[in-house]
Amino acid sequence: MSADQKPNQRPELAALDDATVAQALTRMHLIRKFEEAAEASYMRGLIHGTMHLSIGQEASAVGTTLPLEAHDYILSTHRGHGHCIARGAEPRLMFAEFFGKETGYCKGRGGSMHIADVEGGNLGANGIVGGGLPIAVGVGMSIKAQKNGRVCMVFFGDGASNEGAFHEALNMASIWKLPVVFVCENNKYGMSMDIGHAMAVANVADRAAAYGMPGHCLDGNDLAGVAAVAKVAIARARSGEGPSLIECKTYRWRGHSKSDRNLYRSKEEIEEWRNQDPIRRLEDELKAHDRFDAATLMKLEEDAQRDIDAAVEFARACPDPDPKDLTRDVYAL
């Protein structure tokens, strides 16, 4: 059913054709299922490391990256599984990395916090809050020098916007009009620190004014709305007009990491945000406009679950790295 037959449809949603929406929804499901399986793997003792889950933030990861082209770059955060999947990374290679296996994206050396798919334009997740921000400036310089027309999108959290790296990076990207899109996923907490106590202005996007770039403050759980604004920012970056700052207001349903006992927020608050589940919201809207029926939507979710289950089984069966290779990639030869 074509979108233009539905007069009540929001223009942001109408702008996305069915194939694009199906792909976005699939990736949102894959992120959700990946995170749930990651958590289950931890509970079952299949991994010994930590992880930072992004359940609840799927619309931000998928919506912002949806208008990117295949050769564009992204840089991610410690809460980065979703960004990898949003850019088309293979869950089985991600799980292999998460399980520390030699077959993983980083051969088991990086784990949850450092999944990179350099060939696919994913220049890596980062264990340092704000660590990717200055790197994005250099990627932007590189794109400009090589005149290859690419764009670099860098993700960070609300906590990172209080780091010096944020301010240095935004300033430099702006004075040099670099093709960078800064995406803040504001999930309300820097670990346990409420943003209201950590920041002197109401919105991270307000800070864009200080660096002479557009700042967009968005409902980060609205896939279509996020994608529409990202499209504008990406086009601006690609045309040489310079960077933008997008703030996606969203929420992580789980704690900061596995050690989090959630003492700093209420069950009611978590419940309130669960009711704004970005996946269900999108599905409900699609159904309301008769773009997809329930059976089709159900199938997308089931397919995603099957892919994730297979990815976990693949990763479990993969070999650990050989200790003799411990220092193999410390230096390039």
Binding site: S142, A169, A332
Partner: protein, 340 residues
């Protein structure tokens, strides 16, 4: 090395250390479009120590880029440019300011290749003018090279002559890894023979500046120069000192040190960085852990900087780091102790 053979037949051409660095930068930029320079005041100002000079006029503002005062930001930008196909050469105006850039150098540049399972390289060069002796006090005079030598994934160089300053910088720009080059500010005006062609001095190979039989003096950067001068004086006292210029701190050329100690049976390590937990401790421990330990006729002596920030007062400043006299005295004592 063939280029050294060639040098012999070429006309001797003297350049200052700063000019030698500039010549290397210019030749690297001519040869490879991916190479670009950036840092605070490297453009029209010509660099705080005059190293970049006229390069902005030769290569334009797109390739010699003046940056805001944002050390963390520019170090990170070098990382980003390096992993996406460029060859950035970054100047940290005073090496002390690298404290602001530590995150990007230590957590990102050094580790990206490893963390990504070898799927990315970080071919960047960071030049860091450092060292004491200019009356610039505690925040503009430090020697922090040992910090970085402690980080797997980084390479750390300390060329002491104009010849090595040029050849090692060109080797560093070719290198697929992040390389930090600590340049002593007092060396910038020193002159020496510098061949005109774009030659390379290999990273990780020490130079024997003077051969001797009684004691090995190991130093790098300005301490190698001071050790050479001290060795001249020691010779007049009948002491034959072998002087090794490390040139590269990481990787370190332990083979050359070990062979020398085997011959001289005595070791003096001289460095401007703070003595405690420094380069001297590492070299001493490497000897102690090796079979060369059995060749020692006397305990190893470390001559390093005082356990104090660099003071402003010139008398104190001089006292804070090893001087030529200190090297002469320490080497002579070491030889006498070994004989006793």
């Amino acid at each position: 090395m063939p280029s050294e053979t060639l040098e012999a037949v070429r006309e001797i051409r003297e350049l200052s250390y700063a000019e030698a660095v500039r010549e290397a930068l210019g030749q690297a930029m001519e040869a490879d479009e991916r190479v670009f320079l950036f840092g605070e005041d490297v453009g029209v100002y010509g660099g705080a120590f005059g190293v970049s000079g006229d390069l902005v006029h030769r290569f334009g503002k797109e390739r010699v880029i003046d940056t805001p005062i944002s050390e963390l930001g520019i170090a990170g930008a070098a990382v980003g440019a390096a992993i996406t196909g460029m060859r950035p050469v970054l100047e940290i105006q005073f090496s002390d300011f690298v404290t602001l850039a530590m995150e990007q150098l230590v957590n990102q540049a050094a580790k990206i290749r490893f963390m990504f399972g070898g799927k990315a390289s970080v071919p960047m060069v960071v030049r860091l003018p450092g060292g004491s002796g200019t009356g610039a006090a505690a925040q503009h005079s430090q020697s922090l090279e040992a910090w970085f030598a402690h980080v797997p994934g980084l390479k750390v160089l300390q060329p002491s002559t104009p010849h090595d300053a040029k050849g090692m910088l060109l080797a560093a720009i070719d290198d697929p890894n992040p390389v930090l080059i600590f340049e002593h500010k007092l060396l910038y005006k020193t002159k020496g023979h510098v061949p005109a062609e774009a030659y390379r001095v290999p990273i990780g190979k020490a130079a024997i500046r003077r051969e001797g039989t009684d004691v090995t003096i190991v130093g790098s950067s300005i301490m190698a120069r001071k050790a050479e001068a001290a060795a001249e004086r020691l010779a007049t006292e009948g002491i034959s000192a072998e002087v090794i210029d490390l040139r590269s701190i990481r990787p370190i050329d332990f083979t050359t040190i070990a062979e020398s100690v085997r011959k001289t049976h005595r070791l003096l390590v001289v460095y401007e960085g703070v003595k405690t937990m420094g380069i001297g401790a590492e070299i001493s421990a490497m000897i102690a852990e090796s079979e060369v330990f059995d060749f020692l006729d006397a305990p190893i002596i470390r001559l390093g900087g005082a356990d104090a920030p660099i003071p402003y007062n010139p008398v104190l400043e001089k006292a804070a780091v090893p001087q030529e006299d200190d090297i002469v005295t320490a080497a002579a004592n070491l030889v006498r102790r070994g004989e006793a």
